[in-house]
Each structure stands twice: as structure tokens, then as C-alpha cells.
């Protein structure tokens, strides 16, 4: 098991190098640092001196790959590639183009992201699974038919409308929760209720449909027929046999997204003004802060790979047939 994990971690290394090279090419080769500086400083009427000083302040004035002016290892380390890309492997994100420490920002902002993402995941999971079980229990009735229609309709509504509609209805008309904002510590709960609620509701369509398919697939298998033939009640068959066996894809599907919860939700956070990593990313994109975008790309890739590894591990835990070697 340990040996397998170590090997998987080693496999992850080339992928991270690939991600890093790709971002390096996108940000420094396709567009030179000069282009970035001009864009930041305001297009055409910028003097070369202003561009140079902008680059120097942020350390973009080094050569790309090989510094021929330096000697020894500094030939390779005193370059943009080493300073801006290789350092990411040690999680040294450096400073943003606006001059803030990115690592500090990330550690500060990941908690609000988690405060929304975790409740949305848990409540959504419980709600979707119980609703899907109910549909399967009442299959081939009007409840089933009406639910199918309802789920497709819910699925077809853009996420933006859930947020805008929810804010408008619950905050503006009914005054049940503040429209947006955030508070520290335990006082944050009243700002979290609405985003969590909207997050759960907007996930019902896709989630319940997926679990319903899983359960229906499982319920057409032979062991279910045996269970029914033994005279077990329908509810017991459903919960003990169908749900028990459907847990394998459910657990592995949840585990793979667990690490990405840190990244937060882009839309929800920026609409509700929550200072998490999602709104951090959005702000970086709209301020065209390339340093933060690079850091988030790398962080996202790391978390994704961790998610893949966790999935493999969780397979061995929930499915005794799977052995890792």
C-alpha cells in the first residue's frame, strides 16, 4: 500500500512538471513580460523606462532560461523559469503582481472557501441520495415521472440564475439573510446560510439524476431479486442492499472532489462577497494578476492529483475485491 502510494506520487511528478512547463510557455514565451507590463500599465503610451521598472520590481527582468551574465549554478537559478516556475514545486508562490504574499493569502482565504464547500457537499449528498432513494422506492408512479421532469428542468437552469434568483427572493424581497458579506469566526454563519442553500439547490438536478441512475442500475441485478424473493421489505432491500452496493461509486466519486473543495466555488464566492480562494481567483483574473493565476493553476493541479490518489485508496477501503500493488 505504502509502496503503491509512493509510486503514484512519483508518477505525479512528470504531470506537475508538464503543468508547469505549459503555464511557463503560456505566460512567458507566447507573451513576453514586456507585453504583460504594457497591458498592466495601460497599453500604448508607456515609455520603455516604465516597462523596465515594472519588470524589475516584480523580478521579470531576468532572462527566460539561461542567464549568461551570471556564473556557476546562478546561470540556471537566476532566471525567470527558476524563480517563477521551479519554485512552485516547493510551494513558494512568491508575491503577486500587486505586491502581496500569495502563500499568506492562500492560507487565509482557504477557510471561508471550506466553510461553504463542506456544508454544500454534505447537505447536498444527504439530500440527493435520500431523494434518489425515494424516487427508486416509488418508481413507475407519478412521483417518479414528476421527479424526472423536475430534475431535468432543475438541471437546465444556469447556475447564475440560482444565485441571482436566490439573492433576489430570499434577501431582497423576504429579508431572510444578508445579500452578501462575511464575518470572522462564529458570526459568519448568517452569511453562510444563503450561499450554502443555493449551492445545495443548484446541485439537486445533476446529483439526484446521477444517484437515481446508479440505484436503478443496481436494482436490476440478481442479488436484489434474491433479496426480494427472501421476503425482505422493499425499504430494507433499498437501504441495505442497493444503497450498500451503490456506495462504491458514490464514495469514490466524492473522494475525488474532496481536495478541490479548497479551491472554493468561483461564482458563489464572488456573488456573495466571501473572501475565499474562489473569489481570489476571480479577482486575479479580472485584475490580470498573472502571478496569482500561475499559483492557482499549480495548486489546482496538485489537488487534482491528490484527489486521484485518494480515489484509488478509497477503492480498496470500500470494495474488498480491489487490491493495490
Amino acid at each position: 500500500m505504502i509502496a503503491y502510494l509512493v509510486r503514484r506520487a512519483l508518477y505525479a511528478l512528470p504531470i506537475l512538471i508538464g503543468v508547469n512547463l505549459l503555464t511557463f510557455i503560456l505566460f512567458f514565451v507566447v507573451n513576453s513580460p514586456d507585453d504583460m507590463a504594457r497591458m498592466q500599465l495601460g497599453d500604448k503610451r508607456v515609455t520603455q523606462a516604465a516597462v523596465d521598472s515594472w519588470k524589475q520590481e516584480r523580478g521579470y527582468d531576468r532572462p527566460l532560461l539561461l542567464n549568461s551574465a551570471a556564473t556557476g549554478t546562478a546561470q540556471f537559478t537566476d532566471t525567470i523559469f527558476f524563480e517563477k516556475s521551479v519554485r512552485l514545486f516547493a510551494f513558494q508562490f512568491g508575491t503577486s503582481d500587486a505586491g502581496r504574499d500569495i502563500s499568506y493569502d492562500i492560507t487565509q482565504r482557504m477557510w471561508p472557501s471550506l466553510a461553504i464547500a463542506v456544508p454544500v457537499l454534505l447537505v447536498g449528498l444527504a439530500l440527493n441520495i435520500s431523494y434518489a432513494l425515494l424516487i427508486v422506492l416509488l418508481r413507475a408512479t407519478y412521483v417518479d415521472l414528476a421527479s424526472t421532469v423536475l430534475l431535468v428542468a432543475l438541471l437546465s437552469i444556469s447556475g447564475l440564475f440560482y444565485i441571482i434568483g436566490g439573492q433576489f427572493l430570499l434577501s431582497k424581497l423576504l429579508h431572510l439573510a444578508p445579500i452578501s458579506g462575511y464575518d470572522t469566526g462564529i458570526n459568519a454563519w448568517k452569511f453562510l446560510v444563503l450561499p450554502v442553500l443555493i449551492g445545495v439547490v443548484s446541485g439537486i438536478g445533476a446529483g439526484t439524476r446521477w444517484y437515481r441512475t446508479l440505484f436503478l442500475e443496481e436494482s436490476s441485478k440478481d442479488y436484489v431479486r434474491t433479496a426480494r424473493a427472501k421476503g425482505l421489505s422493499e425499504l430494507r432491500v433499498l437501504v441495505r442492499h442497493i444503497l450498500g452496493n451503490a456506495l462504491i461509486p458514490i464514495v469514490t466519486g466524492v473522494v475525488v472532489i474532496l481536495p478541490l473543495l479548497f479551491m472554493g466555488s468561483l461564482l458563489t464566492e464572488s456573488f456573495f462577497g466571501i473572501p475565499g480562494l474562489g473569489s481570489y481567483t476571480i479577482d486575479a483574473i479580472s485584475n490580470q494578476d498573472f502571478a496569482i493565476v500561475r499559483a492557482m493553476v499549480f495548486l489546482g493541479a496538485v489537488l487534482y492529483i491528490i484527489g486521484l490518489m485518494l480515489t484509488d485508496v478509497s477503492y480498496t477501503l470500500v470494495d474488498p475485491r480491489v487490491r493495490l500493488q
Binding site: 512528470p14 504531470i15 508538464g18 503543468v19 505549459l22 503555464t23 503560456l26 505566460f27 507566447v30 507573451n31 507585453d35 504583460m36 504594457r38 497591458m39 497599453d43 431535468v152 428542468a153 438541471l155 437546465s156 437552469i157 444556469s158 447556475g159 447564475l160 440564475f161 441571482i164 439573492q167 433576489f168 431582497k172 436490476s220 478541490l260 479551491m263 468561483l266 461564482l267 481567483t281 476571480i282 483574473i285 479580472s286 490580470q288 498573472f290 493565476v293 492557482m296 493553476v297 489546482g300 493541479a301 487534482y304 492529483i305
Partner: protein, 472 residues
């Protein structure tokens, strides 16, 4: 010539896509194993209805894809022809009235007065603050307060009658043609159509068509004299914006797939068929691309495009061209982020198929790799491609709105539902609320995505061999 055609990049791709679609249609019509699932799609009620709804969207999109520049009226008849710098589409010409009728600022749907108060000069010279009459919406009414409801009612009625009349003409024509081919009298065919259980889909299609045409004609009748969905901040007709956005939504949903398809097919099949280091390399490639969060990759690419556009501003003759390039680029980059799923599916299928007896036999007989792939593997994977394409469509339409909100979507000057939502979002904070831009975008998007989702379900049921076996 009174006009010169203009071919934008995306237009060319749409025409290629249409040609491919028609070609595939003709090919499928000649092969029974391809025709059967389509027949199954058309024999479900949902399949027929959604296909008609999607086709009406597609019609709007295609009309909006034929771009041209009109000839300017030249004063001396002998002077060389001058063409307007503005690029317009056939849809623009058809909606000429909607495009021209600008108000000053916001007005509610079907309103006769502006949404904001202004100082109006009375005929006797005094000044008064009130809601001024609109320049175009309900202009023909002399006493709007009392006449408006009746006018709206009669116009809707007239629209419905016109719609049903044209529907009757169209239906009559189609039925007459079918009856003639079957060499039956029209009346007798009509009776068969009404009773025969085999013709149920035909009846559904005709009823759907009647509903669609009535809605279309009522909307046209109302939009001719009012602003059906009101006007936005600068007084532009919201209904016109929503109609123009259809093309953007459809393009993002379809072109993205078109540009990603060759890569996904080639790499997916190569990985599964050749295995070994080819497989390793391709798996590495798509895991790497997959591990970058999609939004960030799109953001990075769009930011870079913006830098490029800022530095090469002189290379584009018009804003339309620049917006078009950005749209194309967006489709490309969305394709890059979304081809991995299809590639993985195809790889799995190729791994399975290469062990099948007839492929083994072909290999033993010395058939070349290329022939095996094109003759034996590809035809057996087309259903996966088709199902993925249809399933992805609705997700891509929804993604456009989200990306436009983050400002990494289509060009801000381009009509799109995302841009409509984005600009209407802040207006909800006004008192009283300006809700119509949002509502219009919501309705148009919801109908399209709902139809696409339902259609995708029907297509999947018809084409997926696993599901087909379950039924038997």
C-alpha cells in the same frame, strides 16, 4: 450587386459543420443500422418535440450566420459602388425594425412610457416631471392607458390567427405532397393520419409546429409595435438582443465539439489501439491537461489573447472581426479543456474492440492499421461520439454565461446571453427592479438547454447498445 457577402471565420466553420451534418445524414439514410436508432428517436414524443424546438433555434442561428455588407445609395448613378462598413446578417435584415427602434433608456416590456421620469414641456409652455411616451413602443395609441390592453389582446389574437393560418397552409402542402407520393386522395390520408397509431410522431410534430408558429407570429405581431421584452439601459430592444444571442450560444455548443473532435478521435483511438508507449504518452497528455482547473486555463488563454489583440490592434478592420476571432478562440480553448473526457472513453472502447474476433482476424490476415481503424474501429465508436457531442452541448451553452460573467467569455460587444445577464445583474438593485433583460435571457437559455437535455436523453437511449439490449 446590391450587397457583398462577408465570410467570418466562425461562419466558415458553421458551413463546414452543416456540410458534415448533411453528409452524415445522407450516409446514415443509406445504412439501416444507422437509420434504426434515428427512427427510434423520431418515434418518441420527446424526441420529435425537442428536435423541432432545436431546429427553430438552429434556423435563427443559421440566418444570423450569413453575413453581408449592404451597398450604400450613391448619388451619381455612375459612381463606383460603395459598401456600408457595417457587417450585418440576414437576421439583422429580417429584424430591421427591432434594430432601428431605439429608445432613450430603460422601458418595461410592452410599455408605452419610459421607465424613468423626465422633465417634459407641456403644450402651454409649463414644465412637468413625468414618464415620457416612448419613441416607438405603442406610438400608434392615442390614449395608451385605456387602449393598451385591448390593443395587446387584438394583436395577440391576430398573431395567433396568422400563425395558425400559415401552419394550416404549410401542413396542407406537406400532407398533399405525402398523399401524392402514396397516390391516395388527400382526405383519405388525413383520416389515416388522425387514426393510425404508427403516425403518432407525425401528429405530435404537427401540433408542436402549430404551437411554435403561433408563438412566433404572436411575438412578431407584438414586437412590431411594442418592445416585447422592454429595452435596456441604452434603449436597445431586449428581444432583439436575445434573438441575436442565439447564434453565440449555438456556436459555443457546436463549434467547440467540432474543433475538439479530430484530436479526441485520433489520440483516443491511437492510445487504445497501439497501446505501449503511445498509450503512456497520450494518457500523460490528457492527465496533464485535465489537472489544470478548466476555468483557469480558459482565463489564462483569454488573457493572452487580450494581450495579443491589444498589441496587434491594427490588423483588424472591424470590431465584428475582432469579436469573431475571440469567439473562435474561446471555442478552441473550451475544446482543449473538454476533449479529454471523450478521448478517455474512446481509448477504453478501442482497448475493448482490438481484442474482438473480427479485429484479430483482420490483423491475422495482414490488414493495415489504418484500414482496421477506419473500417472496423471507427464505425463501432460513432455512437460514443454522437452521445458525447449531444450531452456536452447543453453544458457548453451554460458555461458561456458563466465565463462571460468572469469576463473571460465572448467579446463584451457581442450579443450573448452571458453578456445580457452580466449587464442586467446590477440592475436588480434598482428600485423598482429592472427584471426583463434577465428574464429574457433566462427564458431563451432555459428553453434551449431543456430541449437539448431532453433530446440528449432520447439520443442516448436510442444509440447506446447497452441500453438497447436491456429493453429486449
Amino acid at each position: 450587386m446590391p450587397l457583398i457577402p462577408v465570410m467570418l471565420w466562425t461562419d466558415a466553420l458553421v458551413f463546414i459543420l452543416l456540410a458534415l451534418g448533411v453528409g452524415f445524414g445522407i450516409y446514415a439514410a443509406q445504412h439501416e443500422h444507422l437509420r434504426a436508432p434515428w427512427r427510434q428517436v423520431l418515434h418518441t414524443r420527446t424526441g420529435v418535440i425537442t428536435l423541432l424546438v432545436l431546429s427553430s433555434y438552429a434556423l435563427l442561428g443559421i440566418l444570423d450566420t450569413v453575413h453581408l455588407r449592404l451597398k450604400l445609395p450613391s448619388t451619381p448613378a455612375t459612381a463606383p459602388a460603395q459598401y456600408a462598413p457595417e457587417v450585418v446578417s440576414l437576421l439583422d435584415l429580417a429584424l430591421h425594425g427591432l434594430r432601428e427602434r431605439q429608445e432613450k433608456t430603460y422601458s418595461a416590456p410592452l410599455a408605452t412610457h419610459l421607465f424613468t421620469k423626465e422633465v417634459i414641456e407641456q403644450p402651454d409652455g409649463t414644465l412637468r416631471r413625468d414618464y415620457p411616451r416612448l419613441l416607438h413602443g405603442g406610438r400608434h395609441l392615442t390614449a395608451p392607458a385605456s387602449e393598451r390592453s385591448a390593443d395587446l389582446f387584438w394583436r395577440s389574437l391576430r398573431g395567433a390567427v396568422k400563425g395558425l393560418a400559415s401552419w394550416a397552409l404549410l401542413t396542407g402542402g406537406i400532407l398533399w405532397l405525402i398523399a401524392r407520393r402514396r397516390s391516395e386522395p388527400l382526405a383519405q390520408y388525413w383520416l389515416t393520419l388522425r387514426r393510425s397509431p404508427h403516425l403518432q410522431p407525425g401528429r405530435t410534430a404537427l401540433i408542436t409546429l402549430a404551437v411554435l408558429m403561433s408563438i412566433g407570429f404572436i411575438a412578431a405581431e407584438l414586437a412590431a409595435a411594442y418592445h416585447l421584452f422592454g429595452t435596456d439601459k441604452v434603449g436597445e430592444d431586449v428581444f432583439y438582443q436575445a434573438l441575436k444571442s442565439v447564434r453565440t450560444g449555438l456556436l459555443i455548443g457546436t463549434l467547440t465539439t467540432l474543433v475538439m473532435l479530430p484530436a479526441a478521435l485520433l489520440l483516443g483511438i491511437a492510445a487504445g489501439y497501439f497501446r505501449g508507449w503511445v498509450d503512456d504518452l497520450i494518457q500523460y497528455l490528457y492527465t496533464t491537461l485535465n489537472s489544470i482547473p478548466g476555468v483557469l486555463l480558459i482565463a489564462a488563454a483569454i488573457l493572452l489573447l487580450q494581450v495579443y489583440l491589444a498589441n496587434h490592434a491594427n490588423e483588424f478592420t472591424s470590431a465584428v472581426e475582432r469579436a469573431d476571432l475571440r469567439l473562435l478562440f474561446l471555442c478552441l480553448i473550451l475544446g482543449v479543456t473538454s476533449w479529454t473526457g471523450l478521448c478517455r472513453l474512446l481509448r477504453g472502447e478501442a482497448l475493448k474492440l482490438r481484442e474482438v474476433d473480427y479485429v484479430q482476424a483482420a490483423q491475422a490476415l495482414g490488414v493495415g492499421h489504418f484500414t482496421i481503424i477506419t473500417r472496423h474501429l471507427l464505425p463501432n465508436m460513432l455512437h460514443i461520439v454522437l452521445i458525447t457531442v449531444v450531452l456536452d452541448f447543453s453544458g457548453l451553452v451554460l458555461a458561456e454565461a458563466v465565463l462571460s460573467y468572469v469576463n473571460i467569455g465572448v467579446d463584451p460587444t457581442m450579443n450573448s446571453w452571458g453578456n445580457m445577464i452580466n449587464s442586467a445583474r446590477l440592475e436588480l438593485a434598482r428600485e423598482p427592479v429592472v427584471w426583463w433583460s434577465l428574464t429574457a435571457a433566462f427564458i431563451f437559455m432555459f428553453v434551449l438547454v431543456l430541449a437539448a437535455n431532453l433530446f440528449a436523453d432520447v439520443v442516448r437511449d436510442a444509440f447506446d447498445p447497452r441500453l438497447r439490449q436491456n429493453e429486449k
